[in-house]
């Protein structure tokens, strides 16, 4: 159980300022960061806007190339830029469910794309797998011929989830994936995610600013501020005894919400 699934070593990202041609300053979006994730566990990454948490998500999923450092999955290094290798193990659910689904494809075509590109299954097998996956996330096989605009926000988020788990990955990154949902849908989604975690042995990386979800959901957490890691540890310990002033502020600002939950 306590096998290290994903190992992040010295990962960092800096952007070059494009405005100056000669004296290009580089802006550090993320200072070198290292952490491990076990299977069946959830790691939360918290921080304010601009703290580098979305950059970290993009680095992990491979949408951006890291400036330094590398990522290992089961001891094997994930090549930057090699999407075919990476997407079978690390998947991401985006924040805005409205724009992550191509409006001109049906749900079946949407879910078929990763399968066509990454598996050798024939059409019948893919169809069967799509049916099964839709059922797993609580949708019906009927929905296969629907178009994305026919769904509500929560259902779209479920489709994104189906798209994420259809390749049977080991790590799923939730980039504020729950923020746009209303509380009841959010708790439904969380329960669904926890169920899937148990069934499939997934590791989640939860990127969120909502400490309530983090407390409920995650086992460990990292607090980021301006690209720097401030605190790492068990979620309960950090939330009960925050060591850093920034973490305290973050908790104070959401104290009201935490009390009334």
């Amino acid at each position: 159980m306590s096998k290290v699934l994903l190992q992040v070593i010295n990962l960092s990202k800096s952007y070059k300022d494009k405005n100056y041609w000669l004296n290009r300053k580089s802006v550090a979006a993320l200072a070198p960061i290292s952490f491990d994730i076990m299977a069946h566990k959830t790691l939360a990454i918290v921080g304010e806007t601009g703290s580098g948490k979305s950059t970290l998500a993009k680095l992990l999923v491979g949408a951006e190339l890291p400036t330094t450092g590398h990522i290992r999955l089961n001891g094997q290094t994930l090549e930057p830029g090699n999407f075919k290798q990476r997407c079978q193990h690390v998947r991401m659910i985006f924040q805005d469910s409205g724009t992550t689904l191509n409006p001109s494809l049906t749900i079946e075509q949407l879910l078929d794309e990763p399968l066509q590109l990454n598996t050798d299954l024939d059409e019948a097998a893919r169809h069967q797998l799509i049916r099964g996956t839709l059922q797993k996330v609580g949708l019906l096989a009927d929905h296969m011929s629907f178009y994305p605009h026919m769904f509500s926000g929560g259902q779209k988020q479920r489709i994104s989830l189906a798209r994420a788990i259809i390749l049977k990955p080991q790590v799923i990154i939730l980039d504020e994936a729950l923020a746009s949902l209303d509380p009841s849908l959010r708790s439904q989604m969380i329960n669904l995610l926890l169920d899937l975690q148990q069934q499939m042995g997934l590791a989640f990386i939860l990127i969120s600013h909502n400490l309530g979800i983090v407390r409920h959901f995650s086992d460990e957490m990292i607090v980021l501020c301006k690209g720097e890691v401030l605190e790492v540890g068990k979620t309960n310990e950090i939330l009960q005894q925050p060591k850093h002033k920034y973490t305290k502020k973050l908790i104070m600002s959401q104290h009201f919400q935490l009390l009334h939950r």
Binding site: V61, G62, A63, F83, K84, R86, C87, R91, M92, F94, D96, T99, T100, L101, N102, P103, S104, L105, T106, Q109, E113, P114, L117, N118, Q128, R131, A141, D142, M144, S145, F146, Y147, H149, M150, R163
Partner: protein, 297 residues
């Protein structure tokens, strides 16, 4: 295997079908679209349905007025011109020249423009700028003047006119494609598709083009009304279709000397040009309206 659908007859409209549904709401657009289709059918079937050849001279019936006039003859429904050629046959043949060729011209420049535009959107930096802007010089000169310049270099003739108009129309398609593709590439579903391991061409084919096709069609209708006017104008100036060809602009030029004694040789081709431009514009307007309605929902 269980049935996926409980109600077999239930169908879900594709986004394009829905656009069509919005498109055909206003009656004016339906009429315009009907006229557009009518012109296409005329252009395709012109040689089958015309009563006479467009260059056949009926020397006994010179300058015959249309059939509803007292001097008219019903075997020449719209009258004849100064060489005794049947106006109706010439107008119908003219449809395939002026209107039909304008469609081909727009198709050609659309295809070239879309290819250059998408390459420009896929590349970066200087290469992208070059692809985007190397035809922009064309935009600095009025299109008709440029067509005249090109025809002056290549020599008059219908084919050269068509090349000139294709050249003139390309830049607008390059720009609209590039901007639309760039806009699509910022959307999350393109990133999601890229993370699935899709290459750029697959993304273009499945994620981008289905979502920008309407913009391209709406631009194409604008371009087509310009193309009709350009072909006719060059024909009128004697730079386009050569003399015996029943091109509408050339017919106008042919009839202009006889305007006082035989006005139908001028107003009939003029009305034909007006009719086709209005039909095209109505289709384009309907398209833009449908896109706007969809955006609002």
């Amino acid at each position: 295997m269980a049935r996926d659908k409980i109600y077999q007859e239930e169908e879900f409209p594709t986004p394009l079908m829905q656009l069509w549904h919005n498109f055909k709401q206003p009656p004016v657009v339906v009429i315009g679209f009907g006229c557009f289709l009518f012109l296409i059918v005329l252009a395709i079937l012109s040689s089958l349905i015309t009563p006479y050849s467009p260059v056949e001279n009926h020397l006994n019936d010179l300058l015959l007025p249309p059939a509803w006039s007292n001097d008219g003859n019903v075997s020449f429904l719209l009258g004849t011109d100064n060489l005794g050629r049947d106006m109706l046959s010439r107008l119908i043949h003219g449809t395939s020249l002026t209107f039909g060729l304008s469609i081909i011209v727009v198709m050609a420049s659309l295809i070239i423009g879309v290819i250059i535009g998408s390459l420009s959107a896929l590349t970066k930096g200087v290469k992208s700028s070059f692809l985007n802007h190397f035809l922009d010089v064309i935009l600095s000169i009025p299109s008709l003047l440029l067509a005249i310049v090109i025809v002056a270099i290549l020599g008059p003739g219908l084919e050269n006119t068509l090349w000139a108009i294709i050249m003139v129309l390309i830049p607008q398609f390059v720009h609209i494609t590039r901007n639309a593709v760039k806009e699509e590439f910022t959307k999350d579903y393109v990133l999601a598709s890229r993370l699935d391991g899709a290459n750029s061409f697959r993304i273009l084919r499945y994620s981008v083009f289905p979502n920008i096709i309407e913009k391209l069609i709406s631009q194409a209708t604008l371009a087509q009304s310009a193309a009709i006017l350009d072909i006719a104008a060059l024909g009128f100036l004697g730079l386009g279709a050569p003399i015996p060809m029943p091109e509408w602009g050339a017919m106008l030029a042919n009839g202009i000397d006889l305007f006082y004694i035989a006005p139908w040789t001028v107003y009939l081709p003029g009305l034909a040009i007006l009719f086709s431009v209005i039909a095209t514009n109505l289709v384009g307007e309907g398209m833009r309206h449908a896109l706007k309605v969809r955006k609002e929902n």
